[in-house]
Structure formats: structure tokens, C-alpha cells
């Protein structure tokens, strides 16, 4: 019960990136997408392809929508590449909007006289649906969270994941994902496509760590993507605000990027060698 007030500047939060997962329009996975994001291969946009997670029991698999498929798919990619057991792996899920289609269907039904909404839709409408299905699919009993900071959701999730790694000293899975909203919500929240990115972060390097990342708050403006089509994705999809960071990881280059966080507050991420 001892305690002293320590007034100090924020020490940078840091972790090793053990693996990356990626799913987006024209970006099937990290292995094939990394050269595109790095600028070594041409970007050819095509609709995002989502598949139902085979690890879910059939009853659960039938009930999952696009958002859960996207989040679990991209999380599984990263965890498999990191060769970690998901059972005891803490997980942070971050998204601006949860499942837009389910939200639309519920609101449509509630605007009728009938108002009988589907129980499955209701329990799938929670912001932590992806986190819940992930834990069911992978048997993960460790803590999981579901975070939102609107357009800054990726940075907010990254801060939470880095904080967990720092304090617990254990690896953490970060999954950022966003699916498109149908009309009429789309006019109010124009997210054009599904995009997901996952990072497995750990305090120390493993057999195949990509880089060490170190984050700090900054006033500097956000970095953009040089490719206009990738920049359009970054600007339109909260989870794709991660693209400048993914680009440096894909190029396996040290450097520094600034990504979107909150009004008047952004996140600077330095990429260095993981030793």
C-alpha cells in the first residue's frame, strides 16, 4: 500500500511486432498485400473477400455477419503467423462502428409497428461481438476488450494494446476492423469497403519479429499514403488509418509515422529493429 506521486512525462509505449494480419479491398492477406502496401507491387482494387471462420462451431458460424468474419479472419492470420496459442492470448478489438448492416436492420424493424427484432441480430449488435466470437472460436479465455474512438479507433486500440503489453509483460493481439454501412446510414457514415488489420505485439522479440514499435502522442500532422487509391482507403476507413504504419512494417524499414487519433492529438509511431 505504499505510493508516491510521480509527476512525469509520458514514457513511450513500446512492443515488438511478432506478426501482422491484413484483409482489405484487393488485399487478400499480409503475405500478398505487404508488397503492395510497400509500393513494390501495383495496387489492384477489388471487393474485399471474407470467408466464414472454420474454427467456429457450425451453429455460431451460421450466425456471423461480415464484421465478425472480417475480424476473426484477420486475427487468425496474425496469430497463426506469430505461432502463438490463442487460448491465453489477451485480445484488443477496435472498431468505429460494429456491424452496420445489423444496426440498419434493427433500426428498420424498430421503425415499423411490429418491432419484433431477431434475438440473434440483437446479440450480434453489441460492439464486442467480434471479441466474443473470437474467444468462442479460439477457446480464448484471457481478457478481451472492444474499443471505439470513431476515426481514431486504430490508434486508441494500439495504445490500449501497448499499455497491456507494457503492464502485463505478456503478448497481446490487436485487431482493427471496419465494414461498410448500408444506406441510409452510409450517407451519414460513408465507409466504402471492409478493411481489417491485426498485430501481435509482445514485450520481447520472438523467432520472427518484424520490428519494434514505439508510440507517443504528437501534434504533428498525419502521414498519408503516396498511392492515391491506398490514400483514399486510409482516409475513408478508420481501420485503414493503420496503413502508414503497415507500410513501414511491410518495407521493413526503420522510420516514423504519424497516424490519426483524436481531434488536436495524433499518435507518432517509430519503427526500429526488434532486439
Amino acid at each position: 500500500m505504499s505510493g508516491i506521486v510521480h509527476t512525469r512525462q509520458a514514457p513511450p509505449l513500446s512492443a515488438c511486432v511478432r506478426a501482422v494480419g491484413l484483409v482489405g479491398p484487393g488485399l487478400a492477406d499480409w503475405q500478398t498485400g505487404a508488397p503492395v502496401i510497400a509500393g513494390d507491387a501495383p495496387y489492384q482494387p477489388s471487393p474485399t473477400v471474407l470467408s466464414a471462420p472454420q474454427s467456429l462451431p457450425p451453429a455460431e458460424r451460421r450466425r456471423t455477419g461480415a464484421t465478425v468474419k472480417l475480424a476473426i479472419g484477420v486475427a487468425q492470420q496474425a496469430v497463426a503467423a506469430a505461432a502463438l496459442d490463442p487460448v491465453s492470448l489477451a485480445a484488443v478489438f477496435t472498431s468505429s462502428g460494429g456491424d452496420g448492416l445489423i444496426c440498419h436492420e434493427i433500426c428498420e424493424t424498430l421503425a415499423t409497428d411490429d418491432r419484433q427484432i431477431s434475438p440473434t441480430r440483437f446479440h450480434n449488435s453489441v460492439h464486442n461481438a467480434a471479441a466474443g466470437y473470437w474467444s468462442i472460436a479460439s477457446g480464448a479465455t484471457a481478457a478481451s476488450s472492444a474499443i471505439c474512438a470513431h476515426d481514431g479507433s486504430f490508434a486508441a486500440g494500439l495504445i490500449e494494446a501497448l499499455t497491456q503489453v507494457t503492464v502485463s509483460g505478456a503478448p497481446v493481439l490487436l485487431t482493427a476492423y471496419e465494414t461498410s454501412y448500408p444506406e441510409p446510414l452510409r450517407a451519414k457514415r460513408p465507409i466504402p469497403e471492409s478493411f481489417g488489420a491485426a498485430l501481435v505485439l509482445a514485450p520481447a522479440p520472438g523467432e520472427r519479429s518484424l520490428a519494434r514499435i514505439t508510440a507517443a502522442l504528437t501534434d504533428a500532422p498525419c502521414d498519408r499514403m503516396a498511392d492515391p487509391e491506398l490514400e483514399a482507403l486510409r482516409a475513408a476507413i478508420p481501420a485503414a488509418r493503420s496503413l502508414p504504419l503497415l507500410r513501414l512494417l511491410a518495407r521493413r524499414e526503420p522510420g516514423r509515422v504519424v497516424i490519426e487519433y483524436l481531434p488536436r492529438q495524433r499518435l507518432a509511431v517509430e519503427i526500429g529493429e526488434c532486439r
Binding site: A10, L110, R115, H127, N128, G132, Y133, S145, A149, T163
Partner: protein, 398 residues
């Protein structure tokens, strides 16, 4: 974990505006549940509606955030000198050194539900005055509070259904421990909306009568609404006697089912064990457990199993949801504040509306209030959809 002091806390729910009214209701074992007359809802159920939310008005420069949830947040932040305490803290540490982590499950969803009734008949478009980002989006709550409080530090919303605002305490503790911030505003706000009322109705989990947690004849939940906030800081060198401390937190996942708990409460037990271990306590050190206790047959059975398995027959516990209703994403913060009041007053609150105890309960379930001058440590449980569990340990300093 290194404990934090909860230097200021407040709550608004159907049992009272602010600490004084809430404490008076708890002492009187009063329930705030009443037959549902909310909005256009036609369901045979009881709700814990906060009176006066519709009359609350936001400052003009923050009008874009106007919705029931942010009005309730506004009402809550204005109780018990909370805003002044946050500003004092921001003056001491700097506004960039104060974190803001809030929990909600539905945020301003009601605004979208109402907007869907006002779609353009020709195009189907939502009305021009509907502002998605400032009302419906989960982060709207923190965006609004950040502007109102003038904070410039890290901010986010945790939305893990009914464990949301308990987890906000745990996340804020980590951020302080990592040195990213010196203090944090945490809390939860959830307000009545049609999605949750008709949604829980579709799952057949709404009780037609006021909810009766751990009653042999319990029939389901009564939905409530609340705003509850706490200011967390590192311990000062000299802790004032009677201060309320956050000394432990534990989080886990059921990995079982989206809307039903693990039948033996496996995840619940894991979260409680972790919270005890973080606080450096043994089960026997906990004087009172504020249960999640929603009043559904399966939730209470699973939690009861976990509690009796870990704490044994001498544990004393109750759910306060018979008084407040289930305030969903705000429940974790509201019940942490109720524990703080309980510790301050050395009063373990009884379980309003519970009449015949479930004979399966394997510990001492408090139907009536219990005074205990040695009451020093409380554990608060919050469990949500998706199998998301969080337990907090609160202590009264000697």
C-alpha cells in the same frame, strides 16, 4: 497492482441524482423501478428510468452532441462537484495528463432509432439534422465528455456490453501504471433505447415484474439507465483515512456463448480470482460482493456457482439491480460507486425486490441492509454478452 485512490465519484440512476440521494435510497432499501412508459415502448416490463433527462440541456457550443445518452452524461457530470474536481486535477497535472475512458453499450442509439422513423419517403434518406458521429457512435460519449471537461489526454470508449464501464477502471489503471497519464476520468453512461428493450424482449429475458435477483422465482431483468463517474489518481504519500481505493481488477472471457454465461461461471470465477490476486487478497478478505445479479435464471445461477466455489458459504453478497435495474454498459461504474458509498457508510446494501431466496444459493445473500463497522473491502462483478467478464476490488483505507 499498485492501488489508486478514487478521489471523487458520483452517480445518477433511477434511485437518485448524486451521492446523497443515492445513499438515502440505499439506506431506505428503495427501488426506483416502475412500469415502462418510456418513449413509444409497449412492453409489459419495468424500467429504471432517470427522471428529468429530457429536460436536461447541453451547453450551446456542444449542441451537436444532443441525445438522451449525452444528456444523461451531462446530468451525471454535474453532480457532487465532479467537474470541478476534474478541472482541479487537470490544473495540477495538465489536461494532457488526464485520461478519459468511459463505457457504454448503446451510446446515442436512440437518436438513430428515432431518425429511422423520419426517413425521407421518396429517397429513404435519414433527416439532415441527424448527426451520427456526435450521437450514435460509441465514442460520442467520450467526445462529449472530453469537450465538456476540457481534457486533452488519451480518450476512448470501451463497449463490451454489460462489463464496459467496469473495464474502463481496469484500462485506466493500466494507463496510469504505464506512466502515460497521472489521473483518469472513468465511468459509464447507458440510457434507455428501443434496441435494448425490444432486444432483451426478443431473447425472453425481460421480467414482467420488477426484477428479483437471486429470487427462487426470478423471471429476468429490468432495464435501467445511469451515468456514473470516478476520478482515479495515484495514491498520495499520506492517504486520508476513509478514502476509497481501487486495489484490484480482473478480466476474462467465457469462450462459451454470445448471450448465455458459462453454466458453472468459469469466466466469472477467473475474473474474480484475478482481481483478488491483483489486490493481494485471499477470498476471505472480501467483506461484501456486489454481484452482477441481473435476475435471469441462468445468469444468477452461473454467478452463484462461481461465487460459492471461490468464496465458500461465508461470503456475503447482494445484487443492487432490484433497486437500479440493469444499467447495462453503465452497470460496472454505477456498482463501483455503490460499493464506494457502501464502504463509506459501512453499509452492505440489501437486494430490493428479492423475496424468496433461491435455495441453490451457496453463500449468505443479503436481502436486507447489513451494517458492519469492520466492512473494509468490496468486490464488484460485471459480466456481459460475448462472455466478457470484469471484477473490481474496492477498499476503504484505514
Amino acid at each position: 497492482m499498485r492501488p489508486l485512490v478514487i478521489s471523487r465519484f458520483t452517480a445518477v440512476s433511477c434511485i437518485g441524482r448524486g451521492l446523497g440521494a443515492t445513499a438515502a435510497s440505499l439506506r431506505a432499501e428503495r427501488s426506483g423501478l416502475a412500469p415502462c412508459t418510456f418513449e413509444t415502448v409497449r412492453l409489459e416490463t419495468y424500467v429504471g428510468e432517470v427522471p428529468g433527462v429530457d429536460e436536461e440541456s447541453l451547453p450551446r457550443e456542444l449542441e451537436r452532441f444532443d441525445c438522451r445518452n449525452n444528456r444523461l452524461a451531462h446530468l451525471g457530470l454535474h453532480q457532487d462537484g465532479f467537474i470541478e474536481a476534474v478541472r482541479e486535477s487537470a490544473g495540477r497535472f495538465g489536461p494532457r495528463r488526464i485520461g478519459l475512458i468511459l463505457g457504454t453499450s448503446t451510446s446515442g442509439m436512440l437518436a438513430t432509432e428515432v431518425a429511422y422513423r423520419r426517413r425521407d419517403p421518396a429517397t429513404g434518406a435519414l433527416p439532415a439534422d441527424f448527426d451520427y458521429a456526435a450521437t450514435h457512435n460509441s465514442y460520442s460519449l467520450a467526445a462529449f465528455a472530453r469537450e465538456l471537461l476540457g481534457l486533452e489526454g488519451p480518450a476512448s470508449v470501451i463497449s463490451t456490453a454489460c462489463s464496459s464501464s467496469a473495464k474502463a477502471f481496469a484500462a485506466a489503471w493500466r494507463m496510469i501504471e504505464a506512466g502515460w497519464i497521472d489521473a483518469a476520468v472513468v465511468g459509464g453512461v447507458d440510457s434507455l433505447c428501443l434496441t435494448t428493450l425490444y432486444g432483451f424482449h426478443s431473447l425472453q429475458l425481460l421480467s414482467p415484474a420488477p426484477c428479483r435477483p437471486f429470487d427462487a422465482a426470478r423471471e429476468g431483468i429490468s432495464i435501467g439507465e445511469a451515468a456514473a463517474f470516478a476520478l482515479l489518481e495515484r495514491l498520495p504519500e499520506q492517504v486520508e483515512s476513509g478514502s476509497i481505493l481501487l486495489t484490484g481488477s480482473g478480466e476474462s472471457s467465457d469462450a462459451h456463448h454470445m448471450s448465455s454465461p458459462h453454466p458453472q461461471g468459469r469466466g466469472a470465477r477467473q475474473a474474480m480470482e484475478q482481481a483478488l490476486s491483483a489486490a493481494g487478497l485471499a477470498p476471505a478478505d472480501i467483506d461484501y460482493i456486489n454481484l452482477h445479479g441481473t435476475g435471469t435464471p441462468s445468469n444468477d445461477a452461473a454467478e452463484g456457482c462461481a461465487v460459492s466455489g471461490l468464496f465458500g458459504p461465508s461470503a456475503r453478497a447482494s445484487s443492487t439491480k432490484g433497486a437500479t435495474g440493469h444499467t447495462l454498459g453503465a452497470a460496472g461504474a454505477l456498482e463501483a460507486v455503490i460499493c464506494a458509498i457502501a464502504l463509506t457508510q459501512r453499509l452492505m446494501p440489501g437486494s430490493a425486490n428479492t423475496r424468496e431466496l433461491d435455495p441453490a444459493i451457496g453463500f449468505e445473500y443479503l436481502r436486507a441492509n447489513r451494517r458492519d463497522e469492520r466492512f473494509r473491502r468490496a468486490l464488484s462483478n460485471s459480466f456481459g454478452f460475448g462472455g466478457s467478464n470484469c471484477s473490481l476490488v474496492l477498499e476503504r483505507s484505514a
